[in-house]
Symmetry: C2
Subunit: 333 residues, 2 copies
């Protein structure tokens, strides 16, 4: 066992600690993604589910239930439901964003077509609700159906905020609370509820999940300007080229004088991007503190998440969730 | 009151009898399609919900609950959930089919874009599950989440069966049980379950809904070859031009000799359609009995549906469901 080995990534230690639970979740995913009449459904699903996703969200569900003393098996259904919602969202996102690559492989919309991605996503949504219904727990259903609605609201809001220079930090946080943090927090909250945890513990795990999700997305948006292709699996400047109003850009614009403002208007709002613009944008964000402030925001969210764990009983798993929050922002240090 | 006036369409008599229930359902639909953060969501939804849909499915839910003696108000939530699932399906269908018109108006994917249609559909799915969760009835959730999965399986199966001359009647029925009948039968079944009806009554209403849905779709597929634009709101031959394997074509192909088979292969499988082909197809289907057999199948399904109503207590509403099954196929007589 290497659970105490801090050199191993927290995510991998969690996977090791939850190995038998996650094997059951994987088996359930395989069983429930099948279709009696439409073989294309498991084909498309397998392409994504088999493609090296880390299954972070279902692990959070299982960990939350275990930390709160759950000893049954219905947390497997819940974890599979969470992974189905996530997979359905990815399928639909890739249609909406017209993406060509996901996890280093061609997207389903490219390999099959948009039709298949839309319908298979719908199928997985429906299957996720069947899995939740199996838990016989109405509060769990309520948490996850609300999260599904909030995820979509975040995505629609992001659509209408794209290329809009007036996008505020508040709007940015509403978007990422929806598109990313809502499912993280529902994953941990639902696990705790299923385990019959106290309200204090349920709230703590919900807040932890939300803060983790926000930190995760802020880091992602920052690394889009800092990282190289090797560490990210995508290229520096993708968000810039797609004119996305992410936190570093929003902060940079809010600090810009007239001249810099004209630059941002040209490259983001008008989409007139030329050789050297990305480098200039980086210089501006470095000089006016936008990058530092974004980094500080991510660290703060991770700290907030970790602080909420104190309410829970001490355990190896609690320690791993603590380390996980740390790890999410470690790439920024 | 004109409830006894047989000259009034059964659908309109049902709407009149259920007027106060349906007003409550409409109010709930308006309330729940709102979004705090994304105003585009109710815009897109209103375009469809306000566009003269007959709300047949939610009426079936309300009628089923009432026939089984339900006196609460949660059937309104259930009816709104059913209408949301139906609307979400239409939004996604129009993306999948690249449709330009729905109910005589431009489709949402044309007025806004595919992105909005995909995401707003997802939002309505999520909202429908929230509405169902409000009923605190896990069996109702199970019925409607299963129906949602079966609907999508039907659509995916239809995708892979398109233009495929080997499509059997069995496959055709699997497709339409999914894409059309599953939501009809879930609508009536869930209403009965919510009302605490006996198992006999639940099964009878489920079977009635399914038979009504199948009859409805067979009639629709037949009228695509018979009707004129005025009565249908679409043109004769749309399915022919789109090379869909609907029941009349499947029957015609199964009866075809070598020469006729070559014709069907050319127009359906190869998609090489010329002036006069639609008329020739109609002549073939008329001569070999494909149209008559399709008509007989529709009438038979309507009769099967009506026969199942005998288990239920006599009432004006039961009478209207009986007339409704009759009315669905009346256009064929």
């Amino acid at each position: 066992m290497s659970l105490d080995d801090k050199a191993v990534k927290p995510h991998d230690r969690l996977a090791e600690a939850l190995a038998s639970d996650m094997a059951a979740v994987d088996a359930l995913i395989l069983e429930r993604m099948a279709s009696r009449h439409a073989p294309r459904i498991p084909e498309v699903t397998a392409h994504l589910v088999g493609a090296g996703g880390k299954k972070l969200r279902p692990m959070l569900t299982v960990a939350a239930a275990r930390i709160c003393g759950y000893e049954g098996t219905l947390h497997h259904n819940l974890a599979a439901a969470v992974e189905f919602i996530h997979t359905a969202t990815l399928l639909h996102d890739d249609v909406v964003d017209e993406s060509k690559q996901r996890r280093g492989r061609p997207t389903a919309n490219l390999l099959w077509d948009n039709k298949s991605s839309v319908l298979v996503g719908d199928y997985l949504f429906a299957r996720s609700f069947q899995l939740m219904t199996d838990t016989n727990n109405l509060r769990v259903l309520s948490i996850l159906s609300s999260a599904s609605a909030v995820i979509t609201e975040g995505e629609v809001l992001q659509l209408s905020a794209a290329e809009d220079m007036k996008t505020s930090e508040e709007t940015y946080y509403t978007v990422i609370r929806g598109k990313t943090a809502a499912l993280f927090s529902a994953s941990t909250e639902a696990g705790a509820v299923l385990a019959g945890a106290t309200e204090d513990q349920v709230e703590a795990l919900r807040d932890y999940g939300e803060a983790l999700g926000i930190a995760f997305q802020v880091v992602d948006d920052l690394l889009d300007y800092l990282s190289d292709a090797k560490t990210m699996g995508k290229n520096v400047g993708d968000d810039f080229r797609e004119r996305k109003l992410t936190l570093p850009v929003i902060k940079a614009i809010s600090k810009a004088g007239d001249e810099d403002r004209a630059f941002w208007t040209r490259v983001i709002e008008k989409g007139d991007q030329r050789e050297g613009d990305l480098e200039h944008a980086l210089d501006l964000m470095q000089a006016n503190g936008a990058l530092d402030e974004t980094r500080a925001a991510a660290l703060d969210w991770a700290d907030r998440g970790r602080a909420r764990l104190a309410v829970l009983p001490e355990s190896d798993l609690r320690e791993m969730l603590d380390d996980l929050a740390d790890y999410v922002v470690a790439r920024l240090r």
